[in-house]
């Protein structure tokens, strides 16, 4: 295991020479790489095989299995191909925090999506359209790949703010 580098966590004592052995990565033998590669290939075959398991039987488990295997593959690549297994604690923290942050984004976003419709709070329609089997019109046909007319014409589709003389909206909001 490598020493903690002097410049990373404890700055060198004044005058001391830098530690020449700090942060040197060990030579990972080629055999290790080949074994990890073999493991990755096997896991890949497993992924494909698991996808063909009958959906009636395993239902929601299929995505958990698929992502689980993918995670194992990713962890192997990270630890061995990317040398994180042999890296300093700082690098490990950096790696972990990247993924933690992704899960923060995912998790908190789903506190919204998972709970929509739990409270009968009126937002102007009885049910959120994503959950209602409401007929939606076909998309507005337009020029498929041509540029939208990105020029500001005179009459844009502006907001409703145009020169209303009367009716103050009282206490804002809905």
């Amino acid at each position: 295991m490598t020493h903690a580098s002097p410049t990373l966590s404890n700055p060198r004592r004044p005058g001391a020479p830098p530690d020449p052995h700090a942060f040197v990565e060990p030579h990972v033998p080629v055999r290790t790489y080949l074994m990890i590669f073999a493991a990755l290939m096997i896991l890949m075959l497993l992924t494909v095989a698991a996808a063909f398991l009958p959906h009636q039987a395993i239902g929601n488990w299929s995505i958990i299995i698929a992502l689980g295997i993918a995670t194992i593959k990713a962890v192997l690549v990270i630890l061995y191909f990317m040398h994180v297994k042999y890296a300093s604690p700082l690098v490990k923290i950096v790696v972990i925090s990247g993924f933690v942050w992704f899960f923060i984004a995912l998790g908190l976003t789903f506190t919204d999506y998972l709970t929509r419709g739990w409270l009968p709070v009126s937002a102007g329609w009885p049910e959120h359209p994503l959950r209602a089997n409401v007929a939606l019109p076909d998309p507005v046909p337009g020029p498929p790949l041509a540029e939208l007319p990105d020029k500001s014409g005179g009459a844009g589709h502006g907001t409703e703010g145009g020169g209303t003389e009367g009716g103050a909206k009282g206490a804002g909001g809905r």
């Binding site: 409270l119 994503l130 790949l145 145009g162 020169g163 804002g172 909001g173």
Partner: protein, 554 residues
């Protein structure tokens, strides 16, 4: 008898980073963090003036209830572009890219940042993004609001959405590179003896800001990219007619944009810590707490973005979660305010311009922060969302907070950056003008919002006019206060007094070298044996620092 005309040979100026070379290449191809900081300073100021021009138009229009200055669609463009320019091209880079770039290596005792070429690249990316954004404005502008909400921005807007988005997207990479540079430099390039808890609090703030920059900015990058793809390639990601959810865009957008406001305020808080310590001649009270509060703000800021979406048809339960977490994020900010205030107690306080800005900041940030708590309360926010209450709240933080701290920092480090002193009396005058003008502009807006005046409307019912006129009048005073520094700071470059290495008698590595510093920052690598803000130390055993040098300029 003729007098001999003997003109003495000019004294040799010591070489510093400014006079090392004068040609264009030495500036546009520099890798010196100090020169890059100056280039950022100039460009950021230019964008500030552009954003200010839009604000002027807005306040002129709003001085009268009828929409008589500009059309509704034009007004939409004005507030959109005011927001886009001020946020993406002024506030986000302001302190990190100018003061941060200049000071981080100096405060760490290093010769430069870890990646000087990436630093230069970040300036070019920033300029490319800014030029893209301004080009969009010249080509007709954009009217979606700086928030680019779908499906208007993805399907129906016919204005320059694509160019504006590209501008923001490109400028985001500048942000990421800056954050990357600061994080690596702080970890690997501190001078011998400079442990984490000997760092100035400005460094803690820059580090926390950099964490936010690298974790949050990529998310808006992908969000804007998906929006761009939806417009240009007619993908259907946010298209409601096929089941897309426009609120998803809001989630992705605010996941960045909320931490972004902490990118704007954390560096400001770091500046204030430096100002408070120097101008009370004391170590910041509760240093470890203030240091950790920066990190806490950076972390918790990622948990609260949904409070921008309380009325968006986000689920009510989700709203409650975000509301609760939003209360949490106020705690570390409050810790800082208490600690700054406690630092002044029994300090030796100087009535100088940077300190004025610090006082103004503490007061105005407190008001802005407290009104933020009102908004975190879900029930209150439902009523004041999209009204001028929100506008007032965020301007108290962004202008009363960040801009004032930025001005304070510019004044404080101006002698270090340029080797010149500015004129104190006019600086004080400008600071008071800013304070008075700012409050007159934005305090009435709290009332306007509470009484129900919606934001982003170019016309309003006549009963709101009095407050609006107050606001517009205040804006003119604010404009004066903000314009003055441009003039007297520039004036000082030619006619100001030369500044000594440590004009404020402050403690910190940046003051241990000449004003302006040489290109390599220090004559020899400093070795740090003292704690942060050790104003109590009497012996000047530190290279170049005389902690009790109280030579203050007029």
């Amino acid at each position: 008898m003729t007098t001999l005309d003997i003109t003495p040979a000019p004294l040799e100026e010591p070489e510093d980073y400014l006079n090392k070379a004068y040609n264009i290449r030495s500036w546009f191809l520099t890798v010196d963090h100090k020169r890059i900081a100056i280039m950022y300073l100039i460009s950021v100021t230019a964008f500030f003036l552009v954003g200010g021009a839009f604000a002027t138009m807005i306040r002129l229009e709003l001085a009268t209830p009828r929409g008589d200055l500009v059309q509704a669609e034009t007004y939409n463009k004005l507030f959109t572009m005011h927001g886009v320019v001020m946020i993406f091209f002024f506030l986000i880079p302001s302190i990190p890219a100018t003061l941060g770039n200049f000071l981080v290596p100096l405060m760490l005792g290093a010769r430069d940042l870890a990646f000087p070429k990436l630093n230069l690249l970040s300036w070019y990316l920033f300029m490319a993004g800014g030029v893209c954004g301004v080009a969009a404005m010249v080509m007709g502008g954009v009217d979606t609001g700086w928030t680019f909400y779908t499906p208007y921005s993805s399907e129906f807007a016919t204005t320059q959405v694509a160019f504006t988005i590209m501008g923001a997207f490109i400028a985001g990479f500048a942000s990421i590179l800056t954050g990357l540079n600061f994080i690596v430099t702080t970890h690997t390039m501190r001078a011998p003896g400079l442990t984490w808890f000997r760092l100035p609090l400005f460094m803690w703030s820059m580090y926390a800001t950099s964490i936010i920059m690298i974790l949050a900015t990529p998310v808006i990058a992908i969000g804007l990219l998906l929006l761009l793809a939806e417009r240009v390639f007619r993908l259907g990601i946010f298209d409601p007619s096929i089941g897309g959810d426009p609120v998803l865009f809001q989630h992705i957008f605010w996941f960045y944009s909320h931490p972004a406001v902490y990118i704007m305020i954390l560096p400001a808080m770091g500046v204030i810590s430096e100002l408070v310590a120097c101008f009370s001649r004391k170590r910041i009270f509760g240093y470890p707490l203030v240091a950790f509060s920066s990190i806490a703000i950076a972390v918790i800021s990622f948990f609260v973005w949904g409070h921008h979406m309380f009325v968006s048809s986000q689920s009510a339960y989700g709203g409650m979660v975000f509301s609760f977490l939003s209360f949490l994020v106020a705690i570390p900010s409050a810790i800082k305010v208490f600690n700054w205030t406690a630092t002044y107690f029994r300090g030796s306080v100087a009535f100088l311009t940077p300190n004025l800005y610090a006082w103004f900041f503490i007061g105005l940030f407190t008001i802005g922060g407290l009104t933020g708590l009102f908004l975190a309360a879900l029930a209150v926010d439902v009523h004041v969302h999209d009204t001028y209450f929100i506008v007032a709240h965020f301007h108290y933080i962004m202008v009363g907070g960040t801009v004032l701290a930025y001005l304070g920092g510019i004044h404080y480090w101006w002698p270090k950056m340029t080797g010149k002193m500015y004129t104190e009396w006019i600086a004080k005058f400008a600071a008071f003008a800013v304070f008075v003008g700012f409050n007159l502009t934005f305090f009435p807006q709290f009332f306007l919002g509470y009484l129900g005046m919606p934001r982003r409307y170019h016309a309003y019912p006549p009963e709101y006019q009095v407050l609006n006129v107050m606001s517009s009048a205040g804006a003119s005073i604010l404009a004066l206060g903000l314009a003055l520094p441009v003039f007297y700071l520039l004036w000082s470059l030619w006619y100001g007094k030369d500044a000594p290495a440590n004009p404020w008698g402050a403690v910190g590595l940046e003051w241990a070298t000449s004003s302006p510093p040489p290109t390599e920052n220090f004559e020899e690598q400093p070795v740090v044996t003292w704690e942060a803000y050790e104003y109590s130390r009497k012996e000047p055993d530190v290279v170049g620092v005389t902690p009790n040098d109280t030579s203050t300029p007029v």
